[in-house]
């Protein structure tokens, strides 16, 4: 389980995370929703330590850290290796082939044997239907393909949790569907997943749990059914505003 307790992150004038306490259950898909600038991405990035909160505790599996202490390099690496991140603009490494984009982490971080890493990478590419791109470079692929590759790159690390930061926001609807299908398969296969998204239809279909964030605070955390039953006026407004 991933658990945040009283996590606080403040920029100069802006309270990005305001005393957040929340749990992300194992083998479930948790979707983080909320208006733009609410702190959804900051919350997700805090789990991966790309953002460093100033206060609060975080537990990921068997590791617990207190953000008010200086984290050692060792702690940071150990925590980061528990999760893998899929970014909004995929952020593949442009100078490496698709295969090496996927194997670089397993070989250098997990110290996997090259053949083992490459076989695993090919299996993953097979699963997302992109085995024929192994020797090409990211710039030769479409956005939807690159995002599927970046999902493979995350999966290759055998992470305890996979974090998705608005994985389809930069894609055309058609390409978005390709990526969402991959995500849906992952959700069904009992991976532990946290997704930040604006796609309500997707949230409705795959979320086990929904966390609603606004102004750096958790406004709601509960099951998908509860959420879509409009538990508060604010959530009802939010859901209505999404309709057109």
């Amino acid at each position: 389980m991933i658990k945040l307790t009283n996590v606080d992150k403040q920029y100069k004038e802006h309270h990005a995370l305001d005393n957040i306490t929340v749990e992300f259950p194992e083998q479930e898909t948790t979707v983080i929703l909320g208006p733009s600038g609410a702190g959804k991405s900051t919350l997700l990035r805090a789990i991966n330590l790309l953002e460093r909160p100033q206060k609060g505790m975080m537990t990921i599996g068997d590791l617990t850290v207190d953000f008010s202490n200086n984290l050692s390099n060792h702690e940071i690496l150990a925590l980061r290796r528990k999760t893998a991140m899929v970014f909004q603009s995929w952020n593949l490494f442009p100078h490496l082939t698709i295969l090496r984009n996927i194997t670089e982490g397993p070989i250098h971080v997990l110290k996997q044997n090259k053949t083992v890493a490459e076989n695993h990478a090919m299996e993953l590419l097979e699963q997302v239907g992109l085995a024929d791109t192994a020797n090409r470079y990211p710039s030769q692929l479409s956005g939807g393909q690159q995002q599927r590759i970046s999902i493979c790159r995350a999966l290759a690390m055998n992470p305890y949790y996979i974090l998705f930061d608005e994985p389809t926001s930069a894609l055309d609807p058609e390409l978005e569907a390709q990526v969402l299908r991959v995500l849906q398969d992952l959700a069904k296969s009992q991976h532990s997943i946290i997704v930040v998204t604006h796609n309500m239809e997707f949230a409705r279909r795959v979320a086990d749990k929904i966390v609603f964030v606004e102004e750096g605070r958790i406004e709601f955390a509960g099951t998908s059914d509860e959420f879509f039953n409009r538990p508060t006026e604010r959530i009802a407004n939010f859901l209505d505003a999404m309709k057109f």
Binding site: N48, N73, A84, M85, H95, H108, V109, Q140
Partner: protein, 231 residues
């Protein structure tokens, strides 16, 4: 005239192979290492507790001072200080060593700015993607950042290298028998300065042309992951 060209050119080219090229190559290699270290220190953001942070800031200051110093003074003056000046305070080098030290430090100062610019030009999302895989700082640097930065830095670094090859002619002033010095000596015997300096100019031009061709080949290889765009 052809007779003079034929008899003197080999001597000049030989001086180039024996001095000009080795001095340029060795100084550039050392200069690149200095440049990379300088760039990294100047980019870094000091962290840690009071003392560590203080030393870190001091280090940044020293490296900034070094870059400023070598970019603000003429190379010829730097050579003179190292070779003729430092012996006054008991630091003595032979001409070779003095040349290599000065050329390396000079190249390092300029190239560090090139490398600093190239690293800063990469989007921070590349660092983030690499860190999110659990890589250490040095893994991110060597596997992800340097290879990409090198591609950006290749044209300006090639410029520096070609510049350095020509600047080695200044080594003649600290008694190194490189190409220019040799042609000078021949000219003082045969009273043909126009011819001798034209020959040495041509040899420099040939060396630099070869380097330019090499640069293009390197760039082509470095760009291989971009050329196919839109395929």
């Amino acid at each position: 005239m052809w007779e003079i060209i034929r008899s003197t050119t080999p001597e000049i080219v030989w001086a180039g192979i024996k001095y000009t090229i080795p001095i340029a190559v060795i100084s550039f290699a050392i200069g690149l290492v200095i440049a990379a270290i300088t760039a990294l220190i100047r980019i870094s953001k000091p962290r840690g507790n009071g003392l560590v942070k203080g030393i870190w800031y001091l280090g940044k200051l020293i490296f900034s001072f070094y870059v400023w110093l070598f970019r603000s003074t003429p190379l010829l003056v730097q050579l003179f200080i190292v070779f003729f000046g430092l012996p006054n305070i008991g630091i003595q080098f032979n001409a070779w060593t003095a040349g290599i030290i000065t050329f390396s430090l000079n190249t390092g100062a300029y190239a560090s700015e090139t490398i600093r610019g190239a690293i800063s030009s990469l989007p921070s999302s590349q660092w983030e993607a690499a860190y999110s895989l659990g890589m250490t700082y040095s893994q991110v640097l060597f596997l992800i950042i340097f290879p990409q930065a090198l591609r950006v830095a290749l044209p300006p670094l090639s410029n520096s290298f070609i510049g350095l090859v020509k600047d080695t002619s200044l080594a003649s002033s600290i008694t190194i028998l490189e190409m220019f010095m040799v042609s000078q000596q021949i000219a003082s015997h045969n009273y043909q300065p126009l011819l001798m300096y034209s020959i040495v100019a041509a040899v420099y031009a040939v060396f630099c042309t070869i380097l330019t061709i090499l640069q293009h080949l390197l760039e082509k290889r470095a760009n291989r992951y971009e050329v196919a765009e839109g395929e």
